[in-house]
C-alpha cells in the first residue's frame, strides 16, 4: 500500500515537475534557541524537530520506531545497547558516530551545562560509546519508558565538533543536525529560515524552504492565514479556529494535546482526606462548561490524569458526570451536609483564574464556599509543595506521551511535594503498579498495568479531573501531507503545496 502511494507520488512529481516551494509556518512566539540543551520551550522544539533527529522516533500514532538508532536491545534490566544507523551525515558533512550520541546525552545530563530539559534523561546512570556505531546506556533502575524519552526533541543528537567549536554561538548562529532541514538563518523575534537537506537519510523532503514566523497575536495569526500570507498556523485561538473550520480556503488539522488541567486536593487534610468529599466535588464541577466557555469546545472533559493521546491511556474510563444532587448526597454521607468553606489557589494565569471562578460558582451550588486566592508563581509552587494548600489548579503535560511520565511523578508516594505529588495522596497498589510499569517490556502487559492504575486514580479522585485540550492547527487548502503530532512538534518533511 505504502509502495503504491509512493509510486503515485513519484509519478506526480515526474509529470507535474518537482516544484520548489517555500512553506511558511506561523506560531505564537519566537524561538529561544536552537540548541536543545539551552531551552525546553515549545516554539523552539517545533523548529528543532525539523533540523535534528532523535535516536528513537515517536510517530504521530505514538509508535516508537527506529530513528538514528537502527535497532536496540536490552542487555539486562538496566543496560541497553543502541546500534547507530550507518551512513548518516550531519549538515556540516561529518558522519554520525556513537561518540556524538554519547557526547550529546552526557552534555544534556551534565549539571554544569544547566540544560532545562536535563530531567528527561534523569534516568541515565551512564552513557558510553562501546564502539564507533554502538552506544550503551545504563539506567538508574529498570526504566522501560526510556525509549519515549529518547524520542523527545530535547534529546536530539548533536554534532560534537560543531557544538565544541561554536561554543557560545551554538544554537543561534551555528546549528548542525542530521534532520530533513538545515538551518539557514534566524532573524530574532521575526523568523527562522530552514532549507531542504537533500541528503537526509529518512527519504525525500517536500518543501525546499521552511520559514517559521513568530506572530504573537492569535487573531493576527489567523488573519495572516486567511489572507494566504502563511501556509500553516499552529495553535489557533479557539475563536479563530471556529471560524477557520467553516472557511473553504483552509483545512483544519486538529489534535488532542498531551496536556491535562486539573484541580488537586490536599488529600491529607480534612475534609479532602475523605474520598466521598473528593468524589462529590468532581460531580459538582461541570468540566463540559469549562471546555465550552474557555476553549470554545476545543477540549474534552478529562477522565484520568493523562489524555487519550498518551500511551497507556485507559479508553474505558468515564468522566464524573455533572450531578449536583449526587454531589450533595455524597457530602451528606461524609457528614458535611451543610457544606464547608475552603480555599482554591491559583497562580496569576488568566485562564486558571477564570477556571477558578467557574468552579467557585459551581461549588457554591452544593454549599461549598470557596475562597479563590491568586498567588505569585514561586510562592505557589513552594507552598503547594509544602502542603499548605486545600485545593490548587495546575496543568500537566505528559511530554513523552508515555503514561509513566504522566503518572509516576504525580502519584507515586516517593514523589510527595516538589517532586510532583502535590496532592499527597498515595496507595500501595498504585505504587506497585507504577513501579511495575517501568519494569515491564511487553507492551500489552504495560497497557494493562496503566489501565488499572488509572481506574484506581479515577475512583479515588485525588484531583478534580478538568479537561484536556485540542491544538487547532490549520493549513491553507492547497497544503497536503501535514499530520499533526500530539506533542505539538509537527514534522514537515512530508508536506506538499499545490
Amino acid at each position: 500500500m505504502r509502495k503504491v502511494l509512493l509510486l503515485i507520488a513519484a509519478a506526480a512529481f515526474a509529470f507535474g515537475g518537482a516544484h520548489a516551494f517555500t512553506l511558511t509556518v506561523a506560531q505564537g512566539s519566537d524561538i529561544v534557541s536552537l540548541s536543545p540543551h539551552n531551552t525546553n520551550d515549545q516554539p523552539s522544539a517545533r523548529v528543532m524537530r525539523q533540523i535534528y533527529d532523535t535516536l528513537v522516533v515517536q510517530t504521530e500514532e505514538l509508535e516508537l520506531v527506529p530513528g538514528l538508532a537502527e535497532s536496540w536491545n536490552q542487555v539486562d534490566d538496566v543496560t541497553w545497547d543502541f546500534a547507530i544507523r550507518p551512513g548518516v551525515m550531519f549538515h556540516n558533512g561529518d558522519p554520525l558516530t556513537a561518540s556524538d550520541v554519547a557526547f550529546t546525552l552526557n552534555r544534556l545530563r551534565d549539571p554544569a551545562a544547566g540544560a532545562p530539559a536535563a530531567f528527561l534523561v534523569g534516568f541515565i546512570s551512564s552513557v558510553e560509546a562501546v564502539d564507533d556505531m554502538t552506544v550503551r546506556i545504563v539506567t538508574n533502575g529498570p526504566f522501560v519508558p526510556m525509549l519515549s524519552h529518547l524520542a523527545h526533541t530535547a534529546t536530539s543528537i548533536l554534532n560534537e565538533r560543531a557544538v565544541t567549536e561554536a561554543g557560545e554561538d551554538y544554537g543561534t548562529a551555528v546549528v548542525v543536525g542530521t534532520g530533513p532541514f538545515r538551518f539557514v538563518s534566524w532573524e530574532v523575534a521575526s523568523q527562522v529560515i530552514l532549507e531542504r537537506n537533500d541528503d537526509w537519510w529518512g527519504g525525500d523532503v517536500g518543501p525546499e524552504r521552511v520559514v517559521f514566523r513568530a506572530i504573537v497575536e492569535g487573531t493576527v495569526r489567523a488573519i495572516e492565514l486567511e489572507a494566504g500570507a502563511i501556509d500553516i498556523a499552529y495553535a489557533l485561538e479557539p475563536r479563530d479556529a471556529l471560524r477557520a473550520r467553516t472557511n473553504a480556503d483552509l483545512t483544519m488539522a486538529e489534535i488532542e494535546t498531551l496536556t491535562t488541567s486539573y484541580i488537586g486536593f490536599n488529600a491529607q487534610k480534612a475534609p479532602f482526606d475523605d474520598v466521598r468529599v473528593r468524589q462529590a466535588i468532581n460531580h459538582a464541577v461541570d468540566a463540559e462548561t469549562i471546555v465550552d466557555v474557555l476553549l470554545e469546545g476545543f477540549g474534552f472533559p478529562a477522565t484520568s490524569p493523562i489524555s487519550s493521546q498518551v500511551f497507556g491511556s485507559n479508553p474505558d474510563l468515564e468522566a464524573y458526570d455533572f450531578d449536583p444532587e449526587r454531589a450533595r448526597q455524597l457530602l451528606a454521607d461524609a457528614g458535611l451536609a451543610g457544606g464547608f468553606s475552603t480555599t482554591l489557589w491559583t497562580n496569576d494565569n488568566p485562564v486558571r483564574i477564570q477556571i477558578a471562578e467557574i468552579v467557585q460558582a459551581q461549588l457554591a451550588d452544593i454549599g461549598i464556599n470557596v475562597d479563590v486566592q491568586v498567588l505569585e508563581w514561586s510562592t505557589y509552587l513552594a507552598d503547594t509543595a509544602a502542603g499548605a494548600h486545600d485545593m490548587f489548579i495546575l496543568g500537566w503535560v505528559t511530554v513523552t506521551a508515555d503514561a509513566d511520565y504522566g503518572l509516576y511523578a504525580l502519584f507515586h508516594s516517593s514523589n510527595f511535594g516538589s517532586a510532583g505529588n502535590r496532592t499527597f495522596w498515595s496507595s500501595d497498589r498504585l505504587d506497585e503498579l507504577l513501579d511495575l510499569g517501568r519494569r515491564t517490556v511487553d507492551q500489552d502487559e504495560r497497557l494493562a498495568i496503566y489501565y488499572e492504575a488509572q481506574e484506581i486514580i479515577n475512583a479515588e479522585a485525588p484531583w478534580i479531573f478538568l479537561n484536556t485540550s485540542i491544538e487547532a492547527n490549520a493549513t491553507r487548502a492547497n497544503v497536503t501531507g501535514f499530520v499533526p503530532h500530539p506533542a505539538g512538534h509537527h514534522r514537515l518533511y512530508n508536506v506538499q503545496k499545490n
Binding site: V32, T39, A189, I215, A227
Partner: protein
C-alpha cells in the same frame, strides 16, 4: 503617553550667545547626564532587587537540588548585601554588560542589540511622520484660526491624544489588513508595507501633540511685534509665516518632539506587541512575562539611554535655535 500635553519644560542654562558658549553648554549637558544615568541605575537595580522571587530558582527550576541552588546564588553574588550586589551589577552595567538572560542563557546586551534597530527604525519613522503631518497641520490651523480647517485639525488632535495605542492598533489591523486587505497585519519581513500600520499607530499621539503645540506657538509668534513690523513693511504673508513665525515657533516644537520621543518609546512596547514587531519593546514584555529580570533591567537601561541621547540632542538644538539670537536681529 503619560505626558501628552506637557509642553513646557524648563531648561536650566545660563546666558550664552556665542559659539564657544554653545560648545561649553553641550559639554556641561553631557557631564550632567552622567549622575542622572547613575541615578537611573539605582532605580532600575532597586526595582528588580525588591522583586519577590529567587533568581536562582528561576534559573534552575523549582526542582533543583538545594546544593546547586546555593552554589548558583554564591556565583551570582545573591548572598551579598544589597550595596555589594549593586556595585557588582553597576561595574558590569557601565560596560553594557547586563548579565545573561534567564530564559535563553545568552548575554542580555546581545539580545537587545539584535532587536534595537527595529525599535529605532520604528520610533524614527513615527517621529518623522508626526513632524511631517503635525507641523503643517498646526501652521494651517494657526494661520486660519477658528475656521473649519482649524476646528477639524483640533478635533483630530484631541482624538489622537485620547486614542489608546492598543485599541487603535487592533482597529487598524482589522480595517486595513482584514476588511480592506491593503496591508499585512503584522511582522517585519522587508517590504515598506510592513511599516505602515505600526508607524501610524505609534505616531498618532505624537502627531496630535505636535499639531497642538505648533498651533499654539504659531499663534503666539504671529502676534509678536516683529511679525507686525514685517507685515507693515509689506513682507508677503507666506514669507512671514515660514521665514519668521515658524522659525521662532520651532523652538518649543523641537522640545515637544523630544518629549514625544519618550512617549514613542513607551508606545513602542504596546505597538510592537500588537504588530509582532521584532523590537526591544516586545522583548521587554516577553521578559516581564517570563520574569527574566536581567533582560528587563537591560531593556529599561537602554530605553533610558536612548531617551537621554534624544533629550540631549533636543536641548542642543534648542540652545542653537535660542530666540535671543534671532530677536537681536529683528
Amino acid at each position: 503617553m503619560l505626558v501628552p500635553l506637557t509642553y513646557a519644560r524648563p531648561v536650566h542654562w545660563g546666558e550664552h550667545g556665542t559659539k564657544p558658549a554653545l560648545i561649553k553648554y553641550i559639554f556641561r549637558r553631557i557631564l550632567l547626564l552622567i549622575p542622572i544615568l547613575l541615578g537611573v541605575t539605582v532605580i532600575v537595580f532597586g526595582i528588580m532587587f525588591l522583586t519577590p522571587g529567587d533568581a536562582a530558582i528561576l534559573m534552575l527550576g523549582e526542582n533543583a537540588p538545594q546544593a546547586e541552588l546555593e552554589a548558583l546564588r554564591e556565583r551570582l553574588g545573591l548572598n551579598e548585601p544589597a550595596y555589594v550586589q549593586y556595585g557588582l551589577w553597576l561595574s558590569r552595567a557601565v560596560q553594557l554588560d547586563f548579565g545573561r538572560s534567564i530564559r535563553s542563557g545568552r548575554p542580555v546586551t546581545g539580545e537587545i542589540t539584535a532587536r534595537l534597530p527595529a525599535t529605532i527604525e520604528l520610533a524614527l519613522l513615527a517621529t518623522l511622520l508626526s513632524i511631517v503631518i503635525g507641523v503643517p497641520l498646526g501652521v494651517l490651523s494657526a494661520t486660519r484660526p477658528n475656521t473649519a480647517v482649524d476646528h477639524s485639525a483640533t478635533v483630530l488632535a484631541f482624538g489622537g491624544l485620547a486614542m489608546p495605542v492598543f485599541w487603535q492598533g487592533l482597529i487598524m489591523i482589522l480595517l486595513f489588513a482584514l476588511v480592506l486587505d491593503w496591508l499585512p497585519p503584522s511582522g517585519k519581513l522587508g517590504g515598506w508595507q510592513y511599516y505602515v500600520l505600526p508607524t501610524i499607530t505609534l505616531g498618532t499621539s505624537a502627531i496630535a501633540a505636535i499639531t497642538r503645540m505648533t498651533r499654539a506657538t504659531m499663534l503666539e509668534t504671529l502676534s509678536q511685534d516683529y511679525v507686525r513690523t514685517a507685515r507693515s513693511k509689506g513682507v508677503r504673508e507666506r514669507s512671514i509665516t515660514y521665514r519668521h513665525a515658524l522659525r521662532n515657533a520651532m523652538i518649543p516644537i523641537v522640545t515637544v518632539i523630544g518629549l514625544q520621543f519618550g512617549a514613542l518609546l513607551s508606545g513602542a512596547v504596546i505597538t510592537e506587541t500588537i504588530f509582532s514587531w521584532p523590537g526591544i519593546g516586545r522583548l521587554a514584555i516577553d521578559a516581564i512575562r517570563s520574569k527574566d529580570f536581567p533582560v528587563v533591567q537591560g531593556v529599561v537601561m537602554f530605553f533610558a539611554l536612548m531617551y537621554a541621547v534624544v533629550n540631549l540632542l533636543t536641548d542642543i538644538l534648542y540652545a542653537y535655535l535660542d530666540p535671543r539670537l534671532k530677536t537681536r536681529y529683528s
